[in-house]
Structures are given as structure tokens and as C-alpha cells.
Symmetry: none
Subunit: 141 residues, 4 copies
DNA sequence: GTGGTCTAGACCACC
DNA sequence: GTGGTCTAGACCACA
């Protein structure tokens, strides 16, 4: 009922992706304590075991760590976070390039489109002062 | 059973989006005949009326046109297609910028990331030379 | 199945109106022989008696006359035809004025609209040379 | 049972026309709330879906707008209403000219007929003085 | 209550 | 066969 999983892809994989998104977008901040596995499972509408498996994968990747009696926390390891950010940024950019390429845009046109988008963005930000996405004043990684 | 619709959003809207994607990505080419409404409905796993409604919206947007007894076709109107491409490109770029911004990248870092991605891409493309409208080449890239 | 009668109005009345229209618009020309009552009734999808009653009314108005053994004919009486034309023209104009008035146009705006329409019309006629409505070279009454 | 639809033309199209008439003639005034879709459907004697489709078309044309839970309203956009009025006036005039032309009246005779009609009208109006937007006054005229 | 959406199934016109 | 239209009836979100 809650997290919108695609079929055909293992749910625990999609849990990993979703959590990564939340870390990378700043919804979960470094050092922050995660909700309990049980609560996350409830929120996602999956079995706690499935959630646990997803979180285990995240722990393997050093993105979260467990304190035996008090819960799971987002890592504060700058190195790991930086690498994660880079990987995600690369992924996003790569997807964009692929999409624009398939639409027939060449290298220069893609650059031009991005520059235009940035103009738009800065123009819009100017209107109401806020900078990035709002509601999270992320440290500039 | 087939097209993966998100809940909470009208299906006919998502049909429109999916068809736009197929046009913009070159899966459906200008002038190409679409599968019959019934077949598309079957493929998407929706009621023919719902598919009809989505296609009606596309027709209203001049993206497809109908020949009474022979089927529906992708428009060949360069003007309309160009405008569509521009709008979609803008949308993609905008989404990327939003994502990267929320990750804490500023203007220059975004540009840098895109340039890096383009380097990557051209390096990869270099292997098999392709560049422009790759809809088949894309697969083997 | 054929003539599209509104309910709430006697059919024979609507038959009269339709025949008047055909005379006035030149579909039936002065002196022309009408189809048989039976054929007209068939065409209109009504009972021959009903058609007969309508035609009787037209005969009373001198718009058609009967030759006992050879059928019914459109009158050639210029006087009657002229008066009919005038009455119909007046009716049309009156309807137009009512419509435009209810839309808030005043006297001058109505005149202006008509003049504009005439410009349009003559412009369109100019393109393909034909004058009035075509397919009937009505004598100019 | 109520709205008199012609066959051969989609009902939803005729619904659109009827509603346009009501707006243009001032029966429905700018900003006025429409009866509910269900009530209109009942009044017209059609399925609510069919009525909905017609109203949807009107909304697409910006002639009405929807407030989610309180109903549909006639637009107050002067621009749109003005354009609509112009289009309808043009249509009416065009029809009149066509009719009169087919009756053999030339340009000057049409103008003359309209002027005569306006005389008639102003004479009749003179009795009760009304002139402008008569939607009530019209009845008693 | 309001509008909005979806489905299932039917019928039509066209060729 | 194709698309187009209509109906009957259901469910949902909103407030």
C-alpha cells in the first residue's frame, strides 16, 4: 500500500534503491537514526525479513551501521558518502545523456540544454530566494 | 499485467506519458502506424476505452492522427515533433538539475558532472562510432 | 429514419416547413413536378396521409398546385413566390437579430457583423468564381 | 427524453453545442455554477459519462472550469467569452448569408433585409424600451 | 454530496 | 477488421 514496488525486480533491491535515494537526497542525514526495521517494514508494506535483507545490503555497503541495542544509523563516513554521491550523480547524468541522445541531441545540444536548464533554475530560485530543493539545508558535501 | 502503472495517477494519463516516451525515444517513428486500440489495450492490460481515452488525448495534442478505417498514425508534423522534443528535453534536464541540486551540487559541479558524463559517453560511443538517433545502435552500445 | 422530425410539433407542420425550405432554397424549382405523395411519404418516413395533409396545406397557400392525373407541381406564380421569399428572408433576418441581440450586440454591431460576413463571403466566392450557393442557378427573383 | 438530439451526430458534440448556446445566449452567466453532472445528464436524458465527456470538452476550451468538490462553473475569462461570442456571431451571420444567397438575394438585398429587420426590431423594442442583454426581457418582448 | 476514473460490453460506420 | 460512441454501473478522493 505504501512504497510502490515494481514487479519483476526483487523487492529488497528496490528497498536498497529507495534508501539510497533518501540518503543521497538528504532525507536521511549522516548520523541520523533510522526507524526500526519493524516500522520501516510497516511503512513499506513488506515483511520485516525483506526489509532486514535490504538494510543488510546497505550495511554491507557501509552506508548504514548497526549499534546493537539502539538501532541502525546512517554512516558519517565522508569518504563513503562522497563516493555514493558521485556514483549516483554519474548515474543520473548518464541516464540524462542516454535519453537526450536517443532524442537525437548531439553533445553540444545536450550541453546547451543543460545550460538553459540551469538558467531557468537560477531564475526560478531568484524569485523566492530559496536555493536548492528546499526543506533540507544540505551541507555542500 | 504488462505496462506497470503507478496507482494514484489516472491510467489514461500514464498511457499518454508512455506513448510520448515511445515517440520521443524513436520507438514509434513519424508516420508509423500504431497497433490497434484493442491490441494496445491488451498489451497495456487496460480496458480499450481507457486506451482510447489516452490516444484521444494524444490526438488532441496532434501527436497522432486517425485514418478512419485503417488505424492511428504517429504525426509527421516536424513542427509538433520538434516542440515535443524540446519540451521533453527541458523536462529531463530540469529533473536532473533538481536531483543533483538536492545532492548538494552547485551550478559548476553540475556542469562538470555533465561534461564528465559526456566524456564517458563519447569514449563508449567511440568503440562503435554511433552518435545520432540511435534506437537500434543504442542496444548494442 | 429519414427526415428528422422534432417531437412536440405536429409532423405535418414540419413537412410544410421542409417543403417551403426546398422551394425557397431552389431545390424544387417553379413549375417542377413533385415526387408522388407515396414516394415523398416513404422518403420522409411518415404515413402517406400525413404527407398528404402537409401538401394540402401547401396547396392552400398556393405554393403548389395539383393536376388531377399527372401530379403536383411547384407554383410558377411570381407574386406568390416573391412573397414567400420575402417572408422567409424576414424570418431568417429576424432570427439572426434576436440571436445577436441576446449576445449583447447592439444595432451598429449587428450591421458591422453582417458587413464583415459579406466581405468574408465575397472573398470566398472570389476564390472559386461561383456566386451564390451553387448547384442551382436561381433566377434572381 | 428531454434535450432533442439529432442522430448521426455524437451526443457529446451536441451537448457541447447546447451548452455553448446557453453560455452565449446568457442563460448561463459568467461565474455561474452549473447543475451537477448527474443532474445535467438526467435533464438531457443521457448517461452521466456522456455528459461528462461533453463538459470535459467545454473545459478543454476554457469555457467552464471545475472546482473539485463544489461543481463546475462558467468561466469569467472575458477574453475567452469575447472570442466565443465573436465566433458564434460570425457563424450565425454566415448561415444567414448563405440562406439568403441561396434564395437569390444579392449583397445589397441582404443588407436591405437586415436593415429592414432592425427597423422592425427597434419598433418592437420601442414598445418596452429594452435593448441590450435581454435574457429576461426577451421573453416578454 | 461533488467531480473523476475505470471497466465491461454493446452497437455503429466504414471498407 | 478499424476506430468511434454510448451505456450501466462501480469505485475513489475530497470535504
Amino acid at each position: 500500500m505504501a512504497w510502490e514496488f515494481k514487479n519483476g525486480i526483487p523487492i529488497y533491491t528496490q528497498i536498497v534503491d529507495e534508501m539510497v535515494m533518501r540518503i543521497v537526497s538528504g532525507k536521511y542525514k549522516p548520523g541520523e537514526r533510522l526507524p526500526s526495521v519493524r516500522d520501516l517494514a510497516l511503512e513499506a508494506g513488506v515483511n520485516p525479513n525483506t526489509m532486514q535483507r535490504g538494510l543488510g545490503e546497505l550495511e554491507r555497503r557501509k552506508l548504514i551501521y548497526t549499534e546493537r541495542t539502539s538501532g541502525k544509523f546512517i554512516t558519517e563516513d565522508e569518504e563513503v558518502l562522497k563516493e555514493l554521491n558521485n556514483k549516483m550523480a554519474e548515474k543520473y547524468v548518464s541516464r540524462l545523456i542516454e535519453e537526450l541522445s536517443s532524442m537525437g541531441l548531439d553533445r553540444d545540444q545536450i550541453i546547451q540544454a543543460v545550460m538553459a536548464g540551469l538558467e531557468e533554475e537560477s531564475a526560478r530560485s531568484g524569485e523566492s530566494e530559496s536555493s536548492g530543493r528546499g526543506e533540507k539545508e544540505r551541507k555542500e558535501a
